[in-house]
Symmetry: C3
Subunit: 258 residues, 3 copies
C-alpha cells in the first residue's frame, strides 16, 4: 500500500496509526480511529483497511468532512469518527480510473483504498470518485446508558498496556462528584477514580479518564486486563456520589447490596 | 539503519515492508519481497537484511534491474524477486568507502547494507561498490509441479491473518476450469476455489488467488493456519476439472478415493 | 504523537527506534537509546516516552548536547545515553505555551513531549521551555566490575533474536587476550568469544562483541535466551586469559573449579 501511494504521490507523509488491531475487529479499528484522527493536520487523508468483507458486496467509500478525508470500506469502521465530524460529502469508490489494475479480490487496501487516498492527497476532488452516497453503515453508538446516579457502559478496547478503555466519557459526569465515584466490573473489580495511574500504589487498580477522554481501568505499573481477566464487551458500572453528600454511594459498597 | 540512511540521504523516503519475518527465515523474506517489490516507484532501493550468515563468508551484493536496485546478503533472499526482473548488473559490496566504520561482525544491515543503499538512492553508480558478480545464490525455484490435471505445490508463507499462501500461481491454471477445481491438503482440508474470502460462510475454508497472484488457503473471518494446523512446506494439491466435463473431479471427492 | 508533531512541523522526518520495549521497562528503553542514538544525524531530537510515572510528580525535561536534543520524563531513561554525551543544557518542561491542550493525566507523550520535540526540531531555543535543571535522575551506571582477570557484568537487554546483551564493553578488555577468554553464566552456559555468530556450528552458543560494542551471548541461528533460560539482570562472568600465557584461563575450565 505504501509503495502504491508513493508512486502516485511521492511527497505524501505516511503515518501508521496502529498495527495492533486484531484481524477483522471492526469495532477496535473504529475506536482507535475515533480516538486519534483529530490530532492530525487538517486535510489529512485517514485510510482504514479493516475489511473482512473485501471482495464481497460491501461498498467502498470516501468521506470529506470540514477538516479531513476518510477512505475505507463501508462496514462501520469510519462511523465513530464521523459521528464527531461535520460531513460535507460521501462518495462511492466506483471510478476505476483511480484504482490499481488488475484489482484483486482480497486486497482492496492496495488496489482501491491506497490509490484513491493518494489521489485525494494530491488534490483530486472527491466527486470524481463515484456517485454520492446518502447514508453510511453505522456501528451501535459509542454511548453508555444512565439510570439516576449509575452509568452503565462497556469495555470497547484493550490497549497494549492492558488498560481497558470504556465508552464512558468524561462529559458523561458533568455535575457529578467524581471524588466519590466508584467503578465496578461484576464482582471482580472495584476501584475509585483518579487523575493518573500513579495515584494508587503499584499493582493496584484505578480508573482514570485517559488520554482519549474515556474512562479506562488500569493497574499502576501493571496489566489490568490480565490481572482481572477483562474482555472487550464487558459491562462497566460507574456509580456517582451525590454532590455534597457522598454517603449513599459509599453505602452501596456493602456486600450483598448489588 | 534508518539513522545511518538519513545521515547520508536526508531526503530518502523510508518504508518498512514488514517486521513480521521470523528470525533467520530466508524463504519467508524472499517471498515477501517477491510479492511486493514491484508496487514501489521506479528506482526504489530494496534493502533486505535477513542475514543469518552475517560476518561469515557469504557475500554482500547490490543488484540493478531495469526498474530497481536490490541490496542484501547473497544468501538467496533476493533470488525470487530477481527471477521476475531483468538484471542489468550485480556487484559485490567491497568498497569500504561506502561503509560505516568500524564495521561490526553482527550487524551488516547498519554498517554495510544501509549506507550502500543510501548512496545508491543518491545516484551513486553501482559499479563503484565492487567487482562484478556473474551468479548469485538461488533458492529452489518458486514453481509447482504438474501431472495431467493435478498441480502439486507447497505452502510457502503464512501471513498474519493465518492465510496459507502457496507457490501455485494463477497463470498455472491457464485453460483449466477453475469452477470445478479442488484444493487438498493431506486429508485434513478440502475446499473449492472462489474469488474472495466472503464467497463462503464465516468459518469455512476457501482457496483464492490472492493479492499476490498466488493460490492461498483461507478461512472466511478466521485463521486457516490455526484451524487446520497448516505449516510452511506442506504439500498442496490442486485438482483441475476437465473443461466442459467437471464430473471426474467431483468423483474424486468420494471418501476412500484419495 | 506523530499527528501532533506533523501539525507543528510538517517537514519533520519521523523514525521509530523500536516498538519492542516491554511496558514500564525504563532500563530496556535507556539501553536501546544509548546503543543507537549516535547513528542519527546531528540535531536529531530523540523523544522517549517510557513513562510509568506519567501524571505524577516526576519531572519532564529536554536536554541539549553537542550533537542532539533529548526529550522525555526525568526517570533515568535518558541517563545512559547522556553519560556518553557532553551536555550543554537541561531544562524543565514547564512552559505550557508549547504543550497540547487540554493536557491529559495519562499521555504526556502526546500532550507534552511530542509538541516540545516538534518545536525543538523547528529551531526553538531550549531555554524557552522552562527553568534550568542541574541534575537529572540517573540509572545505576552501565559498567561491570573487575577483579584481577575476571570481569563481572550482567544481562541488560534481550533482543528479538534472543541474544542476551550485557554491560561488558569491548573496551573493558583492553590488553587482555580475548582468544582465550571464557564467558560463564552460572553453571548453565559456558562459551568462548568469536567475531561473529557463524563462527560456531548451528545451535551452539557463542559470545561476541556485537553491533552495540557490548558483549552479547547468542546461539548461531538460534535463540540463546530461550535455549538457556536467560533473564535480564543475570550475572555474566568473563574470564580473561593472561597475555602470552593462556594456560591459567584454561585450567579454570576444569569441573569443580568454579
Amino acid at each position: 500500500m505504501k509503495g502504491v501511494i508513493t508512486r502516485i504521490n511521492p511527497r505524501a507523509t505516511l503515518i501508521d496509526i496502529t498495527h495492533g488491531i486484531q484481524p477483522q475487529n471492526i469495532q477496535a479499528a473504529a475506536f482507535a480511529l475515533a480516538m486519534c484522527y483529530r490530532f492530525f493536520p487538517k486535510r489529512t487523508v485517514h485510510l482504514v483497511v479493516v475489511d473482512p468483507g473485501v471482495g464481497g458486496n460491501r461498498n467502498a467509500i470516501a468521506v470529506q468532512t470540514d477538516d479531513y478525508f476518510f477512505v475505507g470500506p463501508d462496514n462501520g469502521v469510519l462511523s465513530w469518527a464521523l459521528a464527531r465530524e461535520h460531513i460535507r460529502a460521501t462518495h462511492l469508490l466506483q471510478n476505476e480510473a483511480y484504482f490499481l489494475h488488475p484489482i484483486s479480490g482480497t486486497f482492496h487496501g492496495r488496489d482501491i483504498f491506497a490509490p484513491v487516498a493518494a489521489h485525494l492527497s494530491r488534490g483530486l476532488h472527491i466527486s470524481k470518485l463515484g456517485p454520492k452516497l446518502e447514508k453510511i453503515v453505522q456501528l451501535p453508538p459509542l454511548t453508555p446508558s444512565r439510570l439516576k446516579r449509575t452509568i452503565t457502559g462497556r469495555i470497547v478496547y484493550i490497549d497494549r498496556f492492558g488498560n481497558a478503555i470504556t465508552n464512558i466519557a468524561e462529559t458523561d459526569l458533568v455535575g457529578a462528584d467524581s471524588a466519590t465515584a466508584e467503578v465496578h466490573i461484576g464482582r471482580k473489580l472495584k476501584c475509585g477514580l483518579a487523575h493518573c495511574y500513579s495515584a494508587v500504589a503499584r499493582g493496584n487498580p484505578v480508573a482514570v479518564f485517559g488520554s482519549t477522554g474515556m474512562l479506562e481501568i488500569a493497574v499502576n505499573c501493571g496489566n489490568a486486563a490480565q490481572q482481572f481477566g477483562l474482555q472487550v464487551g464487558e459491562k462497566v458500572l460507574l456509580r456517582l456520589g451525590r454532590v455534597g453528600n457522598p454517603q449513599p454511594a459509599r453505602t452501596q459498597r456493602q456486600p450483598g447490596n448489588r
